[in-house]
Point group: C2
Chain length 164, copies 2
DNA sequence: CTGATTGCAAAGAATTTGCACTGCT
DNA sequence: AGCAGTGCAAATTCTTTGCAATCAG
């Protein structure tokens, strides 16, 4: 957040009340927010704040490289999710049953990036790895036959993930 | 394609004229098609074929695990791209300048998948790695100052990639 | 035959744009 | 003050749905 302000300033981007609110929400929220959820949260702080401003701000932050845009394997639809660009690269691993999203940090990610860079000669700017599968908890449920076997993309929007 | 028919048959899915056309186009096209491009190509073969059928068929193929859905870092917008599920896992590496898409196959991808599986205990069903950066050709252009430096996501829809 | 599949038109979801007003810097 | 930024309404883009007609198995 500290560096965020600096980056924005460099770009001559004004720090309005609305942007402050949105930045804080994105920063503080551990979860991966989509535009609508971000809008709902922002409205609590400033009921006048418009959905359009959310979209415009997200676009801005994306372009400035301050947030990353994910789609979590389109698990719950086609909306996009946003998170502040983290110091460390990570993969998102989503449970196709319960919707839980885990983050994976680890050496193999660096190795992969490194290798792609070398073998293709690309100068990599951004990388995204998303993985869909079944978390340990849901694997158990499935093998107990408690859950109907369905096509991977077939299930409806998930209920809230089970507790831990 | 041979196995495609089998898979569809198992599911009791009828092989209509329209579906045959769409399957062939997806199969034969080396490129990554979005729904609209697929529709355009299909219309050449059957002008009556409707856009809706394209969407329905893509959904079906996705659910049957016969095609993968990509978004190529949203480089050219929010549409999705489709490709037949390949035998081998691969990453998509897209040049943010010219739009060229390279595919990377390589051991590190397997290692990553393996590691995620082990450390998170997930049973992985599908994985997707997308990388944005600058291809060797565009790196050269950029360093020659032939191209204005722009924010990563700022550029317009790309022209056709330069020839190899 | 008969239920799955299509086409058409219309609805929906997510996101963007035009424009007059407002408020950072 | 002056222009970037906002809100509102309307437009766009991408995708899905309802329903009667059609066709594969």
């Amino acid at each position: 957040m500290r560096n965020t302000r600096a980056t924005l300033e460099e770009r001559g981007i004004r720090l309005t009340k609305q942007r402050k609110i949105l930045l804080e929400i994105i920063d503080q929220s551990g979860a991966h927010l989509d535009a609508e959820k971000l809008y709902q949260l922002a409205k609590e702080r400033d009921p006048k704040l418009n959905r359009v401003t959310v979209y415009r701000t997200l676009k801005l932050l994306k372009e400035s490289g301050l947030v990353d845009e994910l789609d979590l394997m389109h698990f719950a639809g086609d909306q996009h999710y946003y998170e502040t660009r983290m110091k460390q690269e990570h993969a998102h691993v989503i449970c196709l049953q319960c919707g839980r999203v885990e983050e994976y940090f680890g050496e193999p990610l660096r190795a992969l990036r490194q290798q792609i860079q070398e073998s293709l000669g690309f100068e990599i700017v951004a990388a995204r790895t998303e993985v869909g599968g079944y978390c340990p908890h849901c694997q158990a449920m499935r093998s107990e036959g408690l859950v109907a076997a369905v096509g991977v993309e077939t299930m409806a929007i998930p209920a809230v993930p089970h507790a831990d």
